[in-house]
Subunit: 308 residues, 2 copies
């Protein structure tokens, strides 16, 4: 679709502008925050149903959380250690009428009203699976547990790249069990994801990946994560051929969440966990990038896969 | 279902505990923030489709926004003047590695880390229609505009009453046009809502309502709003027969949003706006309250209306 360019950001902005021009995204004045048209929502729902189909035989527990997380669970999760720059805390006013008048004066003057609002009991969900680990606390049944979640997630990375939204939906399956089961489960999903990207005819490839850890110490963590291949990413071109973006991410957390939230296997060991996350907006945008803006002209196999 | 009680909060807590015990809601440790079971989500989706059906002939523009709002639009909307206590601002870290170490020490010590995170470019959406008004800025076509939205909304009212969630979904239709058109449109929706509550056999009634304005000056605003019947509410018992809760709310804003966001009619006047909002969780919970926890045993007419 769009030609590759050597200037960073140009292809991203061009693709975003095309999405706005076709009315698939609606600008809100904030980079990375868009309204979605009826067609975009419909395409995304079809991608979501394709993920349903992939996991249909697994009988996962289906749970849906709102896009906020218990702040205590968030603090315990380690997210603030690794990704402070991506987090979204929620602050709420609890002052007097006098404080309220002061707040309004500050807003009126275009000032910073941060100080008037202390932190509340919830933060924005950074990944759909975060509310699941506290829910799994305790002893797992002999087969472990498998949970299917989906929610809007927040990442504070204001960007003109439509593949890097500040709020986007992530569909995830989360497995908690003993280590071998969890590793085998992730392998199984890699096969399914391969089927998915073939069915949608996306030019995707798997790659060892690392999270965008904060700071200099973070660079070492990222190297280690990549080296151990704990995080894989399926990347596909979205806004640019030269810089493909992760559309699916199968992660092994080893005993990280098991230790933090007291999840143990039936025989008393700390449970391992793994999740496979589908970036629903990213897969949807990858489809438009690959197949064009006229959805009615997408190839028959792709339209059949999406039940279009 | 639950007997009426004179002690405030008892019936609410009892109904919440029943919802948790039946697994329809999942506790997160934060009052008013719950996971939803597959069945609850399915019932809610059926209610949402019933709203689809009510408005099917209107050919509304369907748009979906993520549950955050441009902070500048939020400041302009007047929400902070009237409802500062319900708002949710989003704060994000943008400090150095040194600031990060200080942040982690504060979190570790169980301290208040509010000050480390300045306010970001977005706030949580307080009602699904808020992102619509900036989108309507400019001159409307001769017939005005009609927009169909749905999103998770945030209200900071931590409560044990399951009908008062901090995050819940609101489906809305929003009309912008000249005053007579807007008033007639709201009247039409009142008829549709009557059909809806009959179809679902909810013991609902319409009432002049007022928003929970903040402070002493707020009490005067609330009186005025009630007196002018600008806000109607369809209330139904959810957690308690004695204290029914609003499940649908048709509002007239007169020229409030038209003036704030520069929405004008084709002949150059400030447009009036109105919205009708459906509290999807509240309608869903009202169904369980009214008809019992065994969905398969709901009466035939209700099951037919929900296509169960």
């Amino acid at each position: 679709m769009l030609s590759t360019t050597a200037t960073p950001g140009v292809a991203q902005r061009a693709f975003r502008d095309e999405l706005l021009r076709h009315g698939l995204l609606i600008a809100t004045g904030v980079p990375g925050v868009y309204g979605r048209s009826a067609e975009l929502e419909d395409t995304l729902a079809r991608v979501d149903r394709l993920v349903d189909a992939l996991g249909a035989d697994d009988e996962a527990e289906v749970v849906r959380f709102p896009p906020v997380l218990n702040r205590g669970h968030f603090e315990r999760s380690g997210f603030l250690e690794s990704f402070p720059h991506l987090a979204g805390a929620i602050h709420c006013f609890d002052g007097s009428e006098r404080d309220h008048r002061e707040l309004l004066r500050t807003v009126e003057a275009g000032g910073d009203w941060s100080a008037a609002l202390p932190v509340a009991g919830v933060v924005l969900t950074p990944a759909a699976c975060y509310p699941v680990y506290p829910m799994l606390a305790g002893v797992l049944p002999p087969d472990g547990r498998l949970v299917d979640v989906m929610s809007y997630c927040f990442r504070h990375e204001p960007s003109e790249d439509p593949a890097r939204m500040q709020m986007f939906r992530m569909r995830e399956h989360v497995r908690a069990a003993e280590p071998e089961t969890v590793v085998a489960w992730r392998e199984m999903w890699l096969g399914r994801v391969e089927w998915l990207v073939d069915a949608l005819d996306l030019e995707a490839r798997a790659d060892a990946a690392s999270d965008p850890f904060f700071g200099r110490a973070g660079a070492i963590l990222a190297d280690s994560q990549r080296h151990q291949r704990l995080k894989l990413e399926i990347v596909a071109p979205i806004a640019s051929e030269a810089c493909p973006t992760a559309i699916v991410s199968p992660n092994c957390h080893q005993d990280h969440f098991g230790r933090l939230f007291g999840i143990t296997t039936a025989d008393g060991a700390v449970a391992h966990t793994s999740c496979v996350g589908f970036g629903l907006e990213r897969i949807t945008l990858a489809l438009y990038h690959r197949h064009g803006f006229a959805r009615s002209e997408w190839t028959s196999p792709v339209r059949e896969a999406l039940n279009l």
